[in-house]
Symmetry: C2
Subunit: 432 residues, 2 copies
């Protein structure tokens, strides 16, 4: 019962033929007839560019290849451009030039969406074009589609996600096998889960870009990457993961965006979660985003957050939707991307429990001295444990009752000023 209608081809150009780009090209090669039959679109890849001609050779597309992205953008036959260069350098020039040239754009570029997404979508909107970016967050997990479509009947109350596979892999291995940070990082690099320069992952910037995008969508408020208070996992030791376990918790690097009466509470940092929370069992390189809506209640979206296949799945999903709208002469009515301006709640005002690990010299009076600083700052201590000293250094593990961030920071500053620390303290926020 196939439809017997004339289907106009949709002509596509792609810039960037690396892991994800190669995956996209392969899907388009293998599934062209499926998409024609099942989705009613005749997608023809007519132009491709990357800096490395060898990639085009491997994919068998040298006939449509150029090393200059502008040859794709300026090709008058191209309807839709897939941008998979990444970063905010030349990719940003390409993507804006593509929209200026009247092209629809599909991108996986989280950095652009988290810094210039508003300008980009405003420009596209003014020209009746669209920019699709499902692949920018959570790889193949359709969280952008869920927030933009399926969950729109909800007032979103909270978004909490494990949105960086590298750090989730490292924390999983540190927790399971007691690996130290450096060993876990080395292992992740050996397996191809971490880059040679891992700083964007381990310091939290990658997760921050994604939570900026999710915040923008969930609350339709204009936020950018630089506004996200961000801490990475570089200070964590296996002992912290062990202590978490003893408390019935796990440590995850979370991106958080909560609606509060004082504004949107948005941040990225290592977080202790109850071991029975749905996010707690998301391990290895997998990602998951936990969303609470006023009607739907708790939901979670789980999948591979990176890799050729998952990201390509998201890109092709977007491409088919855009191609359907082109084929059937449909404009997408609403792409709200941060058109309002909700207040942000300062990190200083966040209230939660805290875990503090203070490395101190193993001598009398240190517990009293540190406990006094908590008292001076009106921070209520829930528990204190002193681990057995090693090499003359003991670990004081404090857990607080719910406390304002500002007061815990003052406490930490007071303890540092008291001169009792043997090395830098570790502190981790606790979500219940």
């Amino acid at each position: 019962m196939s439809q017997q209608i004339e289907i106009k081809p949709v002509k596509v150009g792609i810039i960037g033929l690396g892991t994800v780009g190669g995956g996209v090209v392969k899907i388009l090669q293998e599934h062209h007839d499926d998409f024609l039959r099942d989705q009613g679109v005749d997608i023809q890849l007519i132009a491709a560019a990357s800096s490395d001609p060898a990639e085009a050779e491997r994919l068998g597309i040298t006939d449509i290849f150029s090393t200059d992205g502008y040859n794709v953008i300026n090709n008058p036959d191209v309807d839709i451009i897939i941008e998979l260069v990444g970063g905010t350098g030349i990719a940003k020039e390409f993507i804006f030039a593509a929209v200026e040239a009247g092209k629809r754009v599909v991108t996986a570029n989280k950095a652009i969406m988290a810094t210039s997404g508003h300008e980009l979508l405003a420009l596209a909107g003014s020209k009746g074009l669209e920019v699709a970016f499902e692949a920018s967050v959570g790889g193949g997990i359709p969280i952008i589609g869920a927030l933009r479509n399926s969950l729109i009947g909800n007032r979103i109350e909270s978004v909490m996600g494990i949105v960086n596979g590298t750090t989730n892999y490292m924390l999983t291995r540190m927790g399971e096998s007691g690996l130290d940070y450096d060993t876990a990082l080395k292992e992740a690099q050996d397996k191809g889960f971490a880059e040679a320069n891992p700083s964007a992952d381990v310091e939290g910037a990658d997760a921050a870009a994604k939570i900026a995008i999710l915040t923008t969508l969930a609350y339709n408020t204009e936020v950018i990457l630089d506004q996200v208070p961000t801490e990475g996992i570089t200070e964590l030791s296996p002992v912290d993961l062990e202590n978490a376990k003893a408390m019935g918790k796990v440590i995850k690097l979370l991106g958080i965006a909560n609606r509060t009466p004082e504004g949107i509470d948005m941040r990225v940092h290592p977080t202790m979660l109850p071991a029975d929370h749905a996010l707690a069992s998301v391990n290895g390189v997998m990602n998951a985003i936990f969303v609470v809506g006023d009607a739907v209640g708790d939901t979670m979206f789980y999948g591979a957050g990176a890799g050729s296949g998952p990201a390509a799945s998201a890109v092709v999903g977007d491409l088919i939707e855009v191609a359907q709208r082109l084929t059937y002469d449909i404009t997408r009515p609403f792409i709200r991307f941060g058109t309002e301006d909700a207040p942000l709640k300062p990190l200083d005002d966040v209230v939660c429990g805290y875990y503090l690990r203070l490395p101190v010299p193993d001598k009398a009076g240190v517990v009293a001295a540190t406990a006094q600083v908590f008292a001076d700052n009106n921070v209520s201590i829930k528990s204190m444990v002193q681990d057995d000293a090693q090499d003359g250094t003991a670990q004081l593990i404090y857990v607080t009752h719910p406390t304002r961030e500002k007061d815990i920071q003052a406490t930490l500053a007071g303890i540092e000023a008291a001169g009792v620390l043997a090395s830098a303290p570790v502190f981790i926020r606790i979500e219940d």
Copy 2:
């Protein structure tokens, strides 16, 4: 930066004001202005019907209320009808009459979608109308949207879901606390998680309707409820959940739809899953659908499968999308609902491991007699354990290597014919 454009109201009628219908009306009352501002739709509820006027009074909508659904359907001003009566009786008449009358329809009716969905969508398609049914599977979990949109770049390889909250609650309690079946059912009924007549849930028909819908969407093949081989949980005992635990597994009532070279392998039955499978930790009344795509790999969608809020979230999400298309004069291009006709793989040909519990008299020779039947049918035994006898009855627990369903059925028939069973055997399929 709100848009200053004239927005034409969309006029909505609702039939059915029970739990879900009441939830929908409340969302529309509370969020009208949010939807106007954020989604660009002015949704006006102008007609409502149910058999019970008290429901309309509670919701404060007596002015638009009628006890006759046809007053909603025949109201010429109504653009979209929300059908929440349920079942295939009068609801089916309403829903077809609504489409015949030129109305768009949003429904949560899994029974109609799983039995007459193809006719309904064909009729709607022929009139340029649409029928949206996100709420028919998985409550507020946006699995229909994911299969219809975000994941369309994938060839779906497998769909496996916990799609019935009642039975998942009962199995969770039987596993956690050793409750027997009757006690677990009573507890579920007391908490409002099971109906007075629980047969549609505990015998698997509810899950079968949902897996029929998911199969239709995932593989675009025409299947209906009656084609789903279905077993419920009524034969399970706490001892089976204990045995599963000892094997590092859990038991869940799963709806399964796998793509195989021999056709779609579709079924509903209790299943042993590895304890570290993502579905294994989905407990209580929560639902989750695990989808494997050739590009995206493993994904899972998790949330509350029933209840006023979640189902209403899905209905309102659909309603807003349909209303946006009406407001902006857009037709939805493609609603493929089983337009192809893929072969189904017969249950007899399914190959998996099996757990069999045989209650037998505690006397010599029974193990040998039963083992002989396995041998006669070429079924390879992986392990056999005999539990301590109670009241003269022992439990023989056999676990097989991967075996064809047909051979295990012949084995069971042979054992029954051998006259060694003290009561009915239990068998559970194992997924790895």
